[in-house]
Amino acid sequence: MQLLGHLATIVIDGVSYAAWLFIISVGLTLVFGVLRILNIAHGGMYAVGAYLAAYAIGAAAANGFGAGAQLLFAATLAVACGAGLGILIEWTVLRRLYRYPEVLVLFATYAVFLIFEDATKLLWGGQSRYANAPRDALGQIRLGELIYPVYDLAMVLVAILLAVAVSLTLSSTRIGRCVTAVVFDREMSASMGINVNRIMTGTFLVGAALGTLAGALTAPKIAISSGIGVDVIVLAFAVTVIGGLGSIGGAMAGAVIVGMARAVTAHLFPQIELFAVYAAMAVVLAVRPQGLFARPEARKI
């Protein structure tokens, strides 16, 4: 019975961590699928979102708004700024580089990330910031033997909603199907009359907004400080790559694998928790060299 309880705890922790992983990587996955670039600036967007949320939640709380309004305000501000920054980056940087090798774009996004790192520091200072008010206000709930913050469990719901929303948009709207077509074959889509450039701009905008949103949703859980974006990049990469790059289902599977790997090691083998994520990534790639949900590609002779 105790063993079962322990197991349940591990699963709950794993799922809740997986939900967070999915939220931070869904934007990256989308951008990779359409633009074929690993967007390192995603970590920067995450950090910006977290700082914006801290500001928004603080401002809303100071004006007497409740937890719901605080979160809404934070999310809105983060999404709006994320979309704006996304457009800005796409127009000024990425658009000029699409004809060059992908690795060049990768480093352009790395440069953007470095700029964001210091920009957030210069704007908000070196010390940590907090946005824990809404998380505290939502209270705790008992699951089995342990209590969990409602906010953390709500993140699982948010992750599922996000996954459903993105999948539905991709599969059942006109624009979503255009995006799917571009993911599958850029040139063919262009010749079918899809405005590939606009799709790419739009996707990057949405990806950036999802990045800031992820930061905003995480803000109430953490200390928002200099350098929080670095770890997020590698984690999001791991999730995206394990899933096979560019598919929402893959990202979900990747998030669950990495989440469970971390929960299991944190509980049972804390000494190796440090590299659980990389071990999971190496093992999955060793077994499935193209990730879990890879599309077969035509061989060009």
Binding site: L104, E117, F237
Partner: protein
């Protein structure tokens, strides 16, 4: 390959090495040290460049940098080996060996999966190094006083001797890499990026070609690592962290991949940039670095080395000298 016409790249490498060796006496110590760091990074970047020529983006060069550095530090600490030349040879051999072993497995991977698997392996090693007390944990290991070719130099003399060792090791390794890239195998590597299937039909094993390139990249990374370790006399797990490997790839992006000389140029440029940013903007050096990186990527996307190529082409046009295609090593890659 003809005996009559000496290879320009090798001549330039030799001239640079001789020039730096003579100039060493007048260069201030701290610039010499920065140069040693740049040379070490350049060797590892050269490895990344060899792989990039095959279209393989490696985020795992840090692993070999780590392997080279730690082979030296561990041999010094536990085997009592303190001869620089032996340590260098040993470290290059070990990292080449590590690459040969991993190569069997990794030569199946392409594109982003190659990048991410190399990253994962490198980060696994980083994690292990942070945990294992034999490796000194996250504090790393110090390397005490070493002898160079039997001479036990101390203080400034040791630094100068180490600088010369760096120059010549790097020069020799760059020549090896150059000969490899010029060889048949080197040309095969470049063809891999274009079309693998075609190569297989021509009767070439793509896998073993990639494997060979990977071993060379490993040996180059190890050479860089051991030089960095002996220059800094300190190693730490950060050598295997993904951002270290990212730096190496960035150096190649910065310089372009026209010749084995390119990464040296890129590494020096990056080191000067970083020193400039850190010295003048201690609060925002990342921002300055990022902005300059961005400007370079945007406005000189073929790499800074391209400026030289363009200059060279202009000179050739002015002098109206006809350059035989075979001698024109520094053609920009499309």
């Amino acid at each position: 390959m003809t005996l009559r016409k000496p290879d320009t790249t090798i001549v330039v490498l030799l001239l640079l090495a001789i020039g730096a060796s003579i100039g060493a006496w007048w260069i201030p110590g701290w610039i010499r040290f920065i140069s040693q760091m740049a040379i070490s990074a350049a060797l590892a970047s050269l490895g990344a460049m060899v792989l990039l020529r095959a279209g393989l983006l490696s985020f795992g060069q840090g692993l070999f940098y780590f392997a080279g550095a730690y082979t030296a530090a561990l041999s010094y600490k536990y085997l009592g080996l303190n001869e620089a030349v032996l340590l260098i040879l040993f470290s290059i051999a070990i990292s080449g060996g590590v690459a040969a072993a991993i190569g069997f497995f990794i030569s199946n991977y392409r594109g982003i999966f190659f990048a991410m698997l190399t990253l994962a392996i490198s980060m696994l090693v980083y994690g292990i190094a942070v945990k294992v007390s034999l490796f000194g944990g996250s504090d790393g290991l110090n390397i005490g006083l070493i002898s160079i070719l039997g001479f036990r130099y101390r203080g400034p003399d040791l630094q100068l001797a180490m600088f010369l060792i760096c120059i010549w090791t790097a020069g020799l390794m760059a020549m090896v890499a150059h000969l490899f890239l010029r060889s048949r195998l080197g040309k095969v590597i470049e063809a891999i990026e274009d079309n693998e299937v075609r190569l297989e039909y021509l009767g070439t094993s793509v896998r073993s070609s990639i494997h060979a390139a990977y071993v060379l990249a490993g040996a180059l990374g190890g050479a860089g690592g051991v030089l960095a370790a002996l220059s800094a006399r300190h190693v730490d797990p950060g050598f295997a962290y993904w951002t270290t490997a990212g730096d190496f790839v960035f150096i190649v992006i910065l310089s372009g991949q026209a010749s084995v000389l390119s990464p040296f140029f890129g590494a020096f440029a990056l080191e000067v940039l970083r020193t400039f940013a850190a010295a003048n903007f201690p609060d925002a050096w990342q921002m300055v670095l990022g902005t300059i990186m961005l400007l370079i990527v945007l406005f000189v996307p073929k790499g800074l080395g391209h400026i030289f190529i363009a200059l060279g082409a202009r000179w050739k046009a002015r002098g109206r000298t006809v350059v035989p295609a075979a001698m024109n090593e520094e053609t920009a890659r499309p």
